[in-house]
């Protein structure tokens, strides 16, 4: 498998031998991963292989059982929650289900991280919130509650909230799942725009190969807690690895098909 293009070689995030177990279930199994600044890395893999768990390790929402996590060359996985605040402010996290605060309106959700970490005046805050919502195509919905908007809209509000503090790194957990193809493409464009204009480093977990090919500088494939493929998008179009082909082309595993005939 080809090594990733190492031209832009400043490392932003590094995982070394990260393992994570929940009870008897091993989710990450000695994972090594290096993420370059300014690149968009796409993580693909079947459901339940630990992609979301991997993202949570990057901001230390979960702590590894063994192994280390580095951000800007500094070890972060053993920092206290208080010490992690400065690190986490530089990340934006789009959760798989959005994780909007349902006791707040859409506008308050987007304003939340700003209000927590800065003291903007009201006009300025309103303007920033509107601008972030405009980026996801939802300006004007500020006073709705998260219960009153559709699943796809919730996800886009969550994305607006994730980028509210102009983070250096954005972690996108399935940003296009549940969106119609047109909206999905708007999100792809947004990911590209953030990278182009603000040099945002992106880590995108997705099942959507169209989106992966569009936004990725590099694609990493995860299976059973290990990285089984790592390369630029073009490589995936031509790879002969059966596991990669099956996922990329969307074919069922022969064993799973055999089970249907029982």
């Amino acid at each position: 498998m080809p090594a990733t293009d190492a031209a832009n070689d400043d490392v932003l995030i590094e995982l070394r031998g990260v393992s994570k177990r929940f009870g008897t279930l091993t989710v990450l199994d000695g994972l090594d991963l290096t993420l370059q600044r300014g690149q968009t890395t796409v993580v693909i893999g079947e459901s339940g292989t630990g992609k979301s768990v991997l993202l949570k390790h990057l901001v230390v929402l979960l702590r590894p059982d063994s192994g280390e996590v580095y951000f800007h060359g500094r070890r972060v996985d053993h920092l206290s929650e208080d010490q992690l605040v400065e690190v986490r402010k530089r990340f934006g996290f789009l959760f798989q289900m959005g994780a909007l605060f349902d006791s707040m309106t859409v506008g308050e959700n987007v304003a939340f991280p700003i209000v927590q970490h800065a003291r903007p005046d009201d006009r300025q805050l309103e303007e920033t919130v509107a601008q972030k919502l405009r980026m996801v195509g939802l300006d004007g919905l500020q006073s709705r509650s998260p219960g009153q908007i559709s699943g796809g809209q919730r996800k886009r509000v969550a994305l607006a909230r994730a980028i509210a503090l102009n983070p250096e790194v954005v972690l996108y957990d399935e940003p296009t799942t549940g969106l119609d193809p047109v909206r999905a493409d708007v999100i792809n464009e947004l990911i590209l725009k953030l990278k182009r204009e603000l040099r945002v480093t992106g880590i995108v977990v997705t099942h959507d190969m169209t989106s992966a090919y569009k936004v990725a500088d590099r694609i990493v494939m995860l299976d059973k807690g290990r990285i089984i493929a790592d390369g630029p998008p073009e490589w995936y179009k031509t790879s002969n690895d059966p596991r990669v082909r099956r996922f990329v082309d969307g074919h069922a595993n022969p064993e799973d098909l055999a089970a249907l005939d029982d």
Partner: protein
């Protein structure tokens, strides 16, 4: 292969260990919540979070507490009055009803009503936030969920359970008075004179002191159960049930230990006092 008694024992040990682990987690959680509350309490932003919780815990619970208190006082009087009348001591009804309400029934019932009404709601709210990753979202934005979510809720329970206890005491004694004096014709003057002789400030304060403990316990237990809730709607439901049962038991157990301690102190200070 373990079998028979050996297998049973190992299951028992595993169960015990899990509970001890849980209790350890609860102690750490409580410690962090207390530290978090103390560090936050001077900030105006904390008061902005606290006020809505106070409204929910205090104002919204008031009707239930008033009604429960009144019925408890009334029931107590109904049960006791015939016995007292039979030995010609019905004028002392006030002493017995009021001391029971102020020392025990007011704080315990206020605590239990709050464990049901507020505790259930707290567990459900925090449990849902946990299950839908809202708590992770807070952490990912550099906001400490203990200080942001738990501290205002626990502080509201801690501060308001004693105040609600006073309301329960009030309606409880009115209920007892209504049955004894208004309905069953006990003489009002001696009824209150004997009450005054029996019920000391110490009794009132010991009830209120207990209520502080009950409030802290039910707030911490309910938040803890929500915070460590298992995934899914089922997890939230189960956490609510567990929170109520655990709070209930904790309140009664604390009540026992506090009653022992306060009794000892009372005897130290005042010597033995009789109600009758």
């Amino acid at each position: 292969m373990a079998s028979g008694p050996a297998a049973n024992l190992s299951v028992l040990f595993a169960g015990t260990r899990r509970n001890i682990d849980k209790f350890g987690e609860f102690c750490i959680f409580s410690w962090e919540s207390c530290i978090g509350s103390l560090r936050e309490i001077a900030h105006p932003r904390f008061w902005r979070l606290l006020m809505p919780q106070m409204f929910e815990v205090g104002y919204r619970s008031l009707p239930v507490i008033l009604i429960t208190g009144a019925f408890v006082g009334m029931v107590l009087a109904v049960q006791a009055i015939e016995q007292f009348r039979a030995v010609g001591l019905e004028e002392r009804m006030g002493a017995v009803v009021n001391i029971s309400v102020v020392r025990e029934l007011g704080p315990v019932l206020a605590g239990i009503m709050l464990a049901g009404r507020v505790g259930g709601a707290l567990t459900a709210e925090l449990g849902t936030m946990k299950v839908t990753e809202q708590i992770d979202a807070l952490r990912s934005m550099g906001v400490d969920p203990i200080r942001y979510l738990v501290a205002p809720r626990v502080v509201a329970c801690f501060l308001l359970t004693p105040i609600l206890t006073l309301y329960a005491n009030l309606t409880g004694s009115i209920g007892g008075w209504f049955i004894s004096v208004v309905q069953r014709g006990v003489d009002s003057g001696p009824y209150w004179e004997f009450t005054q002789l029996a019920v000391d400030n110490f009794d009132l304060l010991s009830g209120v002191l207990k209520a502080f403990f009950f409030g802290a316990a039910l707030g911490l237990i309910s938040c803890f159960k929500g915070f460590y809730c298992r995934p899914g709607a089922e997890g939230v439901g189960r956490a609510c049930t567990e929170a109520f049962v655990t709070s209930f038991m904790a309140i009664l157990a604390l009540d026992y230990f506090l009653a022992e301690a306060l009794q000892t102190i009372s005897i130290r200070i005042y010597g033995f006092r009789t109600f009758l």
